[in-house]
Symmetry: C2
Subunit: 324 residues, 2 copies
């Protein structure tokens, strides 16, 4: 992270240190909500403090009763102008919760609504280690280290600084497969994604943001544990699935879904996070950090689909075109 980010993170963690935190809410919309799934997983596995992910307006209108002065509410909005997320941050702050936001745009309305802000960089020239998810991971490992210190969290912080090389190497290694995918799947009207555990959020984000929003391809991110309890009956020789295999505790769920899907569909693509070269990262942290690599790897698949469909990822028919 850069100096500014390090300072913002330090201030946010100092604020956490001064408070009693009894529960954690992660609140955002769409792609920003999706990045919360892996850290909620990590919190759930590492800590006894309850944590939950909400889409912003569900949080705003549902008004969870446990929200209060011992709550930590982490919000995120790319441009810092998502009305629901600004509203959630204000409501949480009014309820006495500690509010920390992440945004690409400091001084945005979201930034001003939260007590603390952590900025991230974005775009083709930015360093992967300084983008939204890695900054969020640092915040969460820092939080866990305050709740119950463990050398593992310090290690995670250090290893997140090595992320740029890990990302570059794994992007390069998977580029040929992504390019081939773009050609082979360019005419598909529907592609399902599937995962669980740390990478479920990546499957969700790819389905609703990359496929549906940016490519107008129908989709659903099926939880690989739920696959056998309904969705699997849709499987047929020509139904495409992208399955992200976790390397962590829930790998069995993904492998079971993959084994079945492969038996009955000829259109199954696998992103195996265990095959990523993450040698700089300690073995016990690779499962946790895998979604950070899976996300950028999958972006290449979307780029290839966009290229071969002649439909740039920047095209929108409603967003940026009209009020809604």
């Amino acid at each position: 992270m850069n100096t500014k980010q390090a300072q913002e993170l330090q201030e946010a963690l100092d604020a956490i240190r001064r408070r009693t935190i009894n529960n954690i809410y992660f609140v955002a919309c769409g792609g920003s909500k999706a990045i919360f799934e892996p850290v909620q997983y990590i919190c759930d596995v590492e800590s006894e403090k309850p944590s939950a992910v909400y889409t912003s307006n569900e949080f705003n209108y549902r008004q969870p009763k446990a929200l209060g002065e011992t709550s930590l509410v982490i919000t995120c909005s790319h441009s810092g102008n998502t009305p629901e997320t600004i509203d959630a941050t204000k409501k949480a702050r009014e309820a006495g919760a500690l509010t920390i936001c992440l945004s690409f745009k400091p001084e945005s309305e979201l930034w001003l609504a939260a007590e603390y802000g952590i900025s991230y960089t974005w775009g083709p020239d930015s360093k992967p280690s300084q983008t939204n998810s890695p900054m969020l991971f640092r915040l969460v490992f820092g939080l866990l280290n305050i709740l119950k210190p463990n050398e593992k969290y310090d290690r995670a912080m250090m290893e997140l600084e090595l992320l740029d090389d890990v990302v570059a190497r794994n992007k390069a290694a998977t580029l040929p497969a992504a390019k081939a995918y773009g050609i082979a799947y360019k005419r598909e009207p529907l592609i399902y994604t599937m995962s669980s555990g740390e990478c479920y959020g990546v499957a969700y984000s790819f389905a609703i943001c990359l496929l549906m929003e940016m490519l107008w391809i129908n989709s659903q991110s099926i939880h690989s544990g739920e696959y056998f309890h309904g969705p699997f009956e849709i499987t047929d020789y020509d139904v495409p699935f992208i399955i992200i295999l976790n390397s962590g505790k829930t790998r069995f769920l993904d492998e079971r879904a993959l084994d079945f899907a492969r038996k009955f569909s000829d259109r199954v693509e696998v992103i195996d996070t265990a095959s990523f070269d993450m040698h700089e990262i300690s073995e016990d942290l690779r499962g946790y950090l895998a979604p950070l690599i899976a996300g950028v790897v999958l972006r290449q698949y979307a780029d290839a689909l966009a290229y071969h469909r002649g439909h740039p990822l920047s095209v929108r028919r409603y967003m940026w075109q009209m009020p809604y």
Copy 2:
């Protein structure tokens, strides 16, 4: 409920009364998991105790750290033979949690794994008030009444006894619309569902069980708060949506999604739970109980689709046909 159910419920509630409950886990798969969503919503709104819904194997492999002797774990499996849910119940019981299961089949493996069991009836001849969701609602209102007594929960218990008439009346009132839907949408290869709040679970269940599993129609249950943050770009004049409007606190989310979808799609069907005749139910409880009506109303839509597609809801190509 019948005498046996009343006794089972009493025993389960007595067990809760004897324990300290610090957190609540709802664990099941597919359709049985879906019925947990509305009660988790109710817990979230009514109580400060943390509660969460997990698909069984995510729970088993993730192993949430807060699971322990002050946990209440409620599981459900229709025939009581879902291996993941049996496993979850055993794991929870081993961890010292209080375990209560719901099943159509007492003496099933799930039933034997849990400390307490609540049975429900099923099939065309059973009374709606004695089926899975209403029994679960009674358990949860009973739990809330123990955690923090409120006359509202007693009222809810009494009014659940009046459910058979409410269901019959609203089924009859919506049957013509359901029949017309079956004809108009019989050739659709994909139908999206959308909702939030109490009825999100109904939208989820209809998408993965009725449409995908039983009718082999592609689907996704889009959260109406998430719709504007990705999925809405898929909207076009010929993309079908079924939108369930809540009558509770999140109605605004559903109405906003409906207003937008209607502008750009000619294929939007609305199930407005505020239009249900629920006059026996107190006004402050109608939102909570609406999913119990929405579920059976939507079943008629599935029946009509099945009839006009010549594809009975009982047809399966994988389930019951092979091990997986």
